[in-house]
């Protein structure tokens, strides 16, 4: 019960930081924390495999990738925050609505708390058996997708013209 509400509050706070923070680096770290708290929820719900994957791939790789790209792009000139004027109004109104809704549910004691599924070794075994028998084709396609994404990234960013352009900028 307490864990559910604590994890939910943490996730909501970090998710709001992603949208509201003025500096993009802070937003990236808030996203990292959001993904980690979602991983904790996965862990609490008993899907340990996905919690590990979430920490490794989403939090470990993607959030750090964002920080690397911010290093490549000169963010100093983008510090003035150009947002649409309605942004904060709309998002704040929506957040207040959601928080009031959840709060009313808690007050009315209308919330069912989920306990972790009893995961035995058997269910993990079934999961991987399914992955390598029924879902063998999607698994192989995922590897091909990752490889093609790798090639695409190299083609898009690693062109000779672009590298020459960067070197000229450095020389200036």
């Amino acid at each position: 019960m307490t864990y559910d509400i604590l994890l939910t509050i943490l996730t909501v706070v970090f998710a709001l930081m992603v949208v509201f923070s003025k500096k993009t680096v802070v937003a990236a770290f808030a996203l990292l924390m959001t993904l980690l708290t979602i991983a904790m929820i996965y862990f609490q719900l008993g899907t340990i495999f996905l919690a590990a994957i979430q920490v490794l791939v989403n939090a470990g790789a993607i959030a750090i990738l964002f920080v690397f790209v911010m290093m490549l792009i000169n963010l100093e000139q983008f510090q003035n925050n150009r947002e649409r004027s309605k942004t904060k109004l709309v998002v704040t109104a929506f957040t207040i609505l959601i928080i009031l809704g959840v709060f009313s549910l808690i007050v009315n004691n209308n919330i069912e708390m989920l306990s972790a599924v009893n995961l035995t070794d058997n269910s993990m075994k079934t999961l991987f058996e399914k992955l390598f028998t029924t879902y063998y084709l999607p698994f192989e396609m995922a590897t091909v997708l990752l490889l093609s994404a790798l090639v695409a990234c190299i083609v898009i960013t690693g062109s000779e013209k672009g590298i020459k352009h960067d070197q000229e900028n450095l020389n200036e």
Binding site: T11, V18, A27, N58, V69, R82, L105, L146, T157, D166
Partner: protein, 98 residues
């Protein structure tokens, strides 16, 4: 009776959607897209609990792979755009209308 996590998943998705609509620099838009993917993944896991099927966990596994590819290509496109136009704001990019 329903779990608080359903509301959390909906909240994350809608907050990411609003951020995607209202933010103006491309990196923030990609961050909000990741937030939406987090909400969807949580929702699929909750459905997997209520149906008792293990297949949904594999669905989330494949979703994480696809979102990793999406972010990698999106960020490389941002870098290519920054080299060409020296900006990351959606207002300054009017390639189609120009």
């Amino acid at each position: 009776m329903s779990s608080i996590y359903y509301y959390l998943a909906g909240f994350l998705f809608t907050l990411g959607l609003l951020g995607t609509i209202y933010k103006k620099d491309l990196i923030s838009i990609l961050l909000c897209l990741e937030l939406m993917m987090g909400g969807i993944g949580l929702l699929v896991i909750l459905f997997s609990r209520s149906t008792g099927l293990l297949d949904s966990q594999l669905l989330v596994f494949f979703m994480i792979i696809v979102s990793a590819c999406e972010v990698a290509i999106g960020l490389s496109l941002i870098i290519a755009l920054y080299r060409k136009k020296q900006t990351i704001y959606t207002d300054d990019i009017k390639i189609i209308t120009e």
